[in-house]
């Protein structure tokens, strides 16, 4: 008996829709195995990961968990929406983490260096600076790819470490809060430089989540209804056909990197101007990398990415609650996320291939016809 993959004549709409769910299911099974190997009760562990953070959501007096979920989901969705455009056009931007930090740093420029500039324009300017910073940082691997044909996976990834160390140097060095008791971090932003909360009475979710939803809908509209989205897909699927159509792949590289960089930069400045309220050395908990999983789990569809972003935000919250309740290492979250990406990519095979099990039975049938 052996298992064969048989190419489908058309891609399967059924499995396009099912594959993320199959992947989630397989991740849960593999996660349960992982927890039992760690000596924890797998049912408890999964409860704390996926159910506990959601309890109380429907209780009107206790909506803060939902807000925490939105806080974690906002950067994931913003970044993943940009990455989906990159990945669809066959540009492998792995450096969103760096673009996130670049946006946070560029946007913090105003409140850190000009703390007395306090007008209604402060926050919009910060957001614009953040987007510009992320886009400019993403332009580096784009330029290197177009000009020198370098591999953007490597350059964008390496620039993550440059951005992390640069930020680290800033918050420990020239931007450090003189009254911060030598802790790394800038001064607290003034009130005009803080991103407001959507519904302050219920929880601390900020406008970044709204930006994420707007970005998802806008990019979905571009990808599915507009000429530009068509161009992205053609160049991604079939570069030579794209050239035949008259599309420029060099311009496309810049377009997708700048778009993804701007969205990652926006996520970065929203994070520091929102929940953190100042720039420090650990502004990201790996959002830029987790967003890659979000993008694929959402099938590179911005609307799917909203759902996927909420699911991965849940693993962050669940990781915390499992750590508190069961003493599971917080590294287990990363393992979880890694397994999820693995299963998502594996399940995507089912969209273009079907599995056929060639058993002893088929061979026998063959022989029977042969004898007949």
């Amino acid at each position: 008996m052996r298992i064969e993959l048989v190419r489908r004549p058309q891609h399967s709409a059924l499995f396009s829709a099912l594959s993320p769910f199959i992947a989630l299911g397989l991740t849960l099974v593999a996660g349960a195995i992982m927890f039992s190997l760690l000596g924890k009760n797998p049912v408890d562990a999964l409860y704390y990961y996926f159910i506990d953070p959601l309890t109380g959501i429907w209780d009107p007096g206790n909506r803060w968990q939902l807000h925490e979920l939105a806080i974690k989901a906002a950067p994931l969705i913003l970044i993943a929406v940009g990455l989906s455009v990159c990945f669809l056009s066959n540009n492998w931007n792995i450096g969103a983490e760096g673009q996130f930090i670049a946006g946070a740093v560029a946007g913090s420029f105003i409140p850190v260096l000009f703390p007395d500039f306090q007008t209604w324009a402060t926050l919009p300017l910060m957001l614009i600076f953040g987007m510009a910073g992320g886009a400019a940082y993403a332009a580096i691997p784009a330029f290197l790819k177009v000009k020198f044909n370098t591999n953007e996976i490597l350059t964008s990834l390496m620039l993550v470490y440059v951005a992390q160390l640069f930020n680290d140097w800033l918050v420990r060095g020239i931007w450090r809060n003189p009254e911060g008791m030598s802790f790394p971090g800038t001064i607290r932003f003034n009130e005009y430089a803080i991103l407001p909360q959507i519904w302050p009475d219920a929880g601390r979710a900020h406008w970044g989540f709204v930006f994420a939803l707007v970005a998802a809908v806008a990019v979905w509209f571009m990808l599915s209804k507009m000429l530009k989205g068509f161009e992205v897909k053609v160049l991604g699927q079939s570069p030579r056909a794209g050239r035949f159509a008259g599309f420029s792949s060099a311009k496309m590289v810049f377009f997708v990197f700048l778009l993804a960089g701007a969205l990652a930069g926006l996520a970065g400045i929203c994070e520091v101007a929102g929940p953190i309220e100042h720039l420090n050395e650990k502004i990201s908990i790996g959002y830029g990398f987790t967003a890659i999983i979000v993008a694929f789990l959402g099938r590179l569809n911005p609307l799917g990415i909203v759902a996927a972003g909420l699911i991965l935000a849940l693993t962050y919250l669940g990781g915390e609650s499992a750590q508190i309740a069961l003493g599971v290492s917080d590294k287990a979250v990363r393992a979880f996320q890694g397994m999820l990406l693995f299963f998502v990519l594996a399940c995507d095979t089912l969209i273009h291939y079907r599995i056929r099990i060639v058993g002893a039975l088929a061979t026998k049938a063959g022989e029977a016809t042969q004898n007949a």
């Binding site: 048989v6 004549p9 058309q10 891609h11 209804k225 507009m226 000429l227 530009k228 068509f230 897909k233 053609v234 699927q237 079939s238 030579r240 056909a241 794209g242 050239r243 035949f244 159509a245 008259g246 063959g366 022989e367 016809t369 042969q370």
Partner: protein, 521 residues
């Protein structure tokens, strides 16, 4: 000549079946090859010829059925087994390393550790005794396609096979090279060897083969003696219905018509070490005419198409003129807007994006020229307009498909080509440049495509057709030029062009000296 005396069956195939998913690629195929016979295997693309041959050569395993070799039932599980039995194969697409010599390439396919010098000596002996002269120490990269095929044949002969399978051997040869090949095949037959000859060129099958098996849709539809058939009756067996001959009415006064596509001194350096430089190509195509460009594959046709289409621009604006306007420095979209349309050689991945639907593939080449119809304010795509245009083309060109708007990759080659050509014809372009319009397309679809190209020209457009298929060019062209080694000969008017003249030019006779009588060959 006739090998009837040999009589005994070398190979018998009974009820051979191969199933791929839901498709029966070969359905209970019977085939008998006698000793000392040239046996033709005829059929359109997708009829199951390649699948059958692959089962005989051991690269595919049959689902059911039996193979009897020299009176004994055998199982051919791998090409190695086939070689041991005495079955050799010359593939349509060569598997040679360009940077190695002919002898080294031959050595690679032999299992034992024979020194190169011995192989070279053997290869040389075999090559001369069969009239296939070849220097075993020459680099494959320097050889012509015909010479490369000789290496493949000699490699096959060195294993002293009883049965030699040739897959479309003449599709890459000039007529003169093909004649040489036929002599070799006749020589092999007279030695009692058998040949399974796969071809869709009916004239050469009639001329050489002792028996023919015709396949259609995976089934054998007939065993026949091709010498007693006509080309038309063989074609009918292959296609299953009457193939309409292409009608080409000659045009009057074409010399006075205005040239719509002008190419002046087009040169291009090779883009990669293995691509061809273009040298000083000049050509003009007038309104109302079809000009054909013949040539053996790999002589610069692909590079020429890229330069004319604008996928690669020229430094000098006047090099390409479309409808009297300089277009050399304009990209492919700009050239389309000037009224030109293009159909590249490769359908999947170049002319069409394989995993996109037909309507998306229509949009692919026409989003700029039909911007008013297909794109609304703010870059919004008008899907319903594109969809109705798609269905119009599908009807016009009789494209057969499984769903209303399927992915391009799910169509058969012929149907996709009809769609791609139809997509451009639907625009009524003033200039149409087509590379290999009917490559790998079944006879019925090919006839439809050829007729539509002629009709486009007769309605006042200029049509430039690049093709390796000489029969096709003779059928549709008003003038034929030949591309060889990156150079283009002067176009010969159809009335003056003969197979011999064109063949000599394809083999590299001086361009520009075609007026000299060459019929002597």
């Amino acid at each position: 000549m006739s090998a009837d005396g040999n009589g005994a069956n070398l190979l018998e195939v009974r009820g051979l079946t191969k199933i791929f998913g839901a498709l029966k690629a070969c359905d209970a195929v019977d085939l008998t090859i006698r000793k000392g016979e040239i046996h033709a295997l005829l059929g359109e693309n997708g009829a199951g010829k390649s699948t059958l041959v692959k089962m005989l050569f051991g690269s595919l395993e049959p689902y059911s059925g039996e193979i009897i070799w020299n009176g004994q039932a055998v199982r051919i599980t791998s090409p190695g087994v086939a070689k041991k039995l005495g079955i050799g194969m010359v593939f349509q697409h060569f598997s040679l390393f360009e940077a190695l010599s002919a002898a080294e390439n031959i050595a690679l396919s032999l299992d034992d550790q024979t020194p190169i010098s011995t192989i070279a000596a053997k290869a040389k002996a075999v090559s001369y005794s069969y009239g296939l002269p070849l220097d075993p120490y020459s680099l494959v990269g320097d050889l012509s396609v015909g010479e490369r095929q000789r290496i493949e044949i000699i490699r096959c002969l060195l294993q002293t096979p009883e049965l030699i399978i040739l897959d479309e051997p003449t599709s890459v040869l000039t007529p003169q090279e093909a004649d040489k090949l036929f002599e070799t095949l006749e020589r092999l037959r007279s030695e009692g060897k058998s040949i399974l000859y796969i071809s869709h060129r009916l004239e050469e099958v009639k001329r050489m083969c002792d028996a023919a098996t015709v396949m259609r849709h995976g089934k054998v539809v007939g065993h026949t003696d091709p010498r007693k058939e006509t080309a038309a009756s063989l074609a009918r067996m292959m296609v299953g219905s009457e193939v309409h001959a292409v009608v080409r009415a000659p045009v009057e006064g074409i010399e006075k018509a205005e040239p719509l596509l002008e190419i002046k001194n087009l040169s291009r350096k090779p883009a990669t070490p293995f691509s061809m430089a273009l040298r000083n190509i000049s050509l003009s195509v007038r309104a109302g005419e079809v000009v054909g460009i013949a040539g053996v594959a790999g002589n610069g046709q692909g590079e020429f198409f890229e330069a004319v289409s604008g996928e690669v621009k020229q430094p000098d604006a006047g090099t390409i003129r479309i409808r009297g306007k300089d277009a050399g420095r304009v990209d492919i979209t700009g050239r389309r807007l000037l009224g030109a349309a293009f159909v590249p050689e490769e359908r999947l991945g170049h002319g069409a994006a394989p995993r996109m639907t037909l309507s998306e593939n229509l949009f692919l080449s026409r989003y700029a020229t039909d911007r008013k119809a297909f794109v609304g304010a703010g870059g919004l795509v008008k899907e319903s307009a594109i969809d109705s245009a798609t269905q119009r083309i599908v009807q016009e060109m009789d494209v057969r498909k499984s769903a209303r708007n399927p992915e391009a990759a799910s169509l058969s080659g012929g149907n996709l080509q009809k769609f791609i050509i139809g997509r451009e014809l639907d625009r009524r372009p003033a200039v149409l440049v087509v590379n290999q319009p009917t490559w790998g397309v079944d006879a019925g679809a090919a006839a439809k495509i050829r007729q539509s190209l002629i009709e486009l020209a007769r309605s006042g457009s200029a049509v430039l057709v690049i093709s390796q298929d000489l029969d096709e060019l003779f059928e549709i062209s008003d003038a034929i030029a030949v591309m060889h080694n990156g150079e283009l000969s002067k176009p010969l008017p159809r009335a003056e062009a003969t197979l011999e003249k064109i063949g000599l030019l394809m083999g590299g006779a001086e361009p520009g000296h075609v007026e000299h009588p060459l019929e002597a060959v």
